[in-house]
């Protein structure tokens, strides 16, 4: 991108890279601007370019004249291998496992256990937080709201918390070790979704219901702390330099 090889046009197929025309400011023209957005743009890209150059000079990787791997054979062989594996698994399982064709559903009788689809179990579990609904002694030990209202409010709180996370942290980390705290929050959230799902099917779980209820809230905290500790330990020896240039190419926080 420097002045020297600017006119060094490369013909490596349709890469989508538009060569500079007469209207495009040259690099030295950009550099001569002293203020405002053009200067900022220059500094922004020059810094990224400079770091890229330094890393390339340090590295032992042999540069090639193409911008990516060709679709054939590299990409397609990989995709075909993965596709063959899953098609093979489907054929093998359907050929060897006993067929499950249950009785037709009876539309006139409601089953005793009603569950949503599995990916909504976490929300269903949030409807079963009756023990957390506070009873106020001020109003004679009555609950302030019905348990079902409390469950719906719990859904609002959890969905609201998830919606707020992108505003609290933009996610400029490329790997969990770069931001152990937020990685721990994420692992805790995933664990919470899992334990809530298990809570929602508590009548099928082979364990004490009260223990299950406590574990629903304790396990995410434990997993979050574990994640934080492990990632904090992994920070030592992690090569930030290799990843710093990716930060530059993304919008600053």
């Amino acid at each position: 991108m420097s002045d020297d090889n600017q006119h060094d046009a490369r013909t490596d197929g349709g890469t989508g890279i538009v060569p500079p025309d007469d209207d495009t400011p040259t690099w030295s023209e950009r550099k001569s601007r002293r203020s405002g957005l053009p200067r900022l743009t220059y500094e922004y890209f020059e810094r990224a370019r400079r770091e890229d150059q330094n890393l390339r000079e340090e590295s032992t990787y042999v540069e090639r004249d193409v911008l990516a791997f060709p679709t054939w054979p590299h990409e397609l062989i990989r995709n075909l291998a993965l596709t063959s594996f899953f098609v093979g698994m489907l054929l093998l399982l359907s050929a060897t496992l006993p067929p499950h064709i249950g009785n037709p559903a009876n539309p006139s009788s409601t089953p005793s256990i009603i569950l949503p689809d599995w990916y909504l179990y976490w929300s269903f579990g949030l409807l079963k937080l009756n023990d957390l609904n506070p009873a106020l002694s001020l109003v004679g030990g009555q609950k302030l709201m019905a348990d079902r209202t409390f469950g719906v409010l719990a859904n609002v709180v959890v969905v609201g918390a998830i919606a707020m996370v992108p505003f609290l942290n933009k996610g400029s980390a490329r790997r969990p070790v770069e931001q152990p705290f937020w990685a721990a929050i994420g692992m805790g959230g995933v664990t919470f979704a899992l334990t809530l799902s298990l809570l929602s099917i508590k009548n099928l779980m082979p364990m004490d219901v009260h223990l299950l209820f406590d574990l629903t809230f304790l396990a995410p905290i434990v997993i979050g702390c574990l994640t934080y500790a492990v990632l904090k330990t992994m920070r030592e020896g992690y090569m930030y330099d290799l990843n710093r240039r990716y930060y530059r190419l993304r919008p600053p926080k």
Binding site: T96, L97, P98, H100, G102, L204, P206
Partner: protein, 89 residues
């Protein structure tokens, strides 16, 4: 070491897949049961093939567990112990 991992993993996945097939035929009373794959096999398997299937299922179950244990724990531990004990190597 990666080779040992792959041997153990291969044994584990293939054997547990074969166990899954056997257990789904012989240890699953119903697909609405809460004891799928772990229920006791039928007392009196009708044919020789059924008893063979039950036996192979058990065999694969222990192959998966002991195979993984062997290649992930026993063999590496043996190598570590040997390199710690044998000095002139």
């Amino acid at each position: 070491m990666a080779d040992e991992f792959m041997k153990g993993f291969g044994l584990f996945s293939v054997a547990s897949f074969l166990w899954l097939i056997s257990a789904s035929w012989y240890r699953t009373p119903s697909f609405e049961s809460t004891r799928q794959l772990i229920a006791a096999p039928p007392e009196d398997p009708g044919t020789m093939f059924d008893s063979l299937g039950i036996f192979l299922g058990d065999l694969m179950f222990w192959t998966a567990i002991l195979g993984a244990f062997t290649f992930w724990v026993v063999v590496p531990a043996g190598r570590q112990a040997r390199s710690a004990l044998v000095v002139d190597e």
